[in-house]
Symmetry: C2
Subunit: 148 residues, 2 copies
DNA sequence: CCCCTCCGTTTACAGTTGTACACACTAAAT
DNA sequence: ATTTAGTGTGTACAACTGTAAACGGAGGGG
């Protein structure tokens, strides 16, 4: 389990997420399999997918391993690290004061299992022990606060 | 209060977030003020900031109002809508099965106030009443599931 | 009345992203 | 040996992003 994300994950674009999710789910696979699976959802040409694969390798998010005559593609970072990293990156852009509200909105809109909820509740109870009364806005350079 | 985000908010880039946060905090302001405030954090040239402003207006995220001889800039969407929209957009890329884990990670890493925590707990208790036992992975076209 | 200063507009340019055609190479089939 | 089918590589190109210099118009100061 990764504790805290070190140096902010490589930016992953929406199209890249689609490829990555398949790679993570399958573990290792040939471009052909990837393409077939992906085309079941997106009508992208083989070429487009091959380009995306190439770029992901260049970005260092995938590695290749020569097998047979073609390549086996594997992810270099775990899905959780990618998810947590991206989520944290997004939250970095938000006003410190309003992160809680955003989280609340997510909790309300995302489908969660009983187990997820239990874990979240446990984490929250723990956090409540040391949580501050207020968090101030960090949108402006001087200490000026935003309302609400 | 916006209930659910309609048609997926205009994509906001990292640099744009910086401008927007200032605009949201100040409500209405002249480019000069914006530039001064922003330059206290980022060493961007006036020009760069003016370009970003213009692009935000073109994207429809800001509107202008001629005042005096210059423009007053205002945001066209609320900060919460932007935050919630972006967060939901990100979550759309994640495996349905692992959204809970990502949320958990956020809850652990984000600074929350006592009040935020209470609200989250309330929302979770409510949600627990109807939450499913499991959520399945939606990464692959066929029903194939990812492990963990 | 002229120049300067402010602010908005034009233009620029490299890098990234979405999308894809066409080509090269190699193993396999004929 | 020649063709073929399957993979990877090169190239392309428009839109968007990060960053910024330069220009043009209007009001203020001299």
């Amino acid at each position: 389990m990764s504790e805290s994300l070190q140096s902010s994950i490589q930016e992953i674009t929406p199209s890249e997420w689609e490829l990555m999710r398949i790679v993570w789910t399958k573990g290792k696979l040939y471009s052909r399999e990837l393409i077939d699976l992906l085309q079941a959802k997106r009508s992208w040409s083989d070429s487009t997918i091959k380009t995306l694969l190439r770029r992901l390798v260049k970005k260092g998010l995938l590695t290749t391993e020569k097998q047979d005559r073609r390549f086996l593609y594997t992810a270099t970072i775990s899905e959780s690290d990618a998810m947590n990293g991206s989520a944290e990156q997004l939250f970095d852009h938000l006003c410190a004061m309003k992160k809680g509200a955003t989280l609340l909105n997510l909790v309300e809109h995302v489908t969660l299992t009983q187990t997820d909820i239990e874990k979240l509740q446990a984490a929250l109870s723990e956090k409540a022990k040391t949580a501050p009364k207020e968090v101030s806005c960090d949108c402006l350079p001087n200490g000026e606060q935003c309302e609400s």
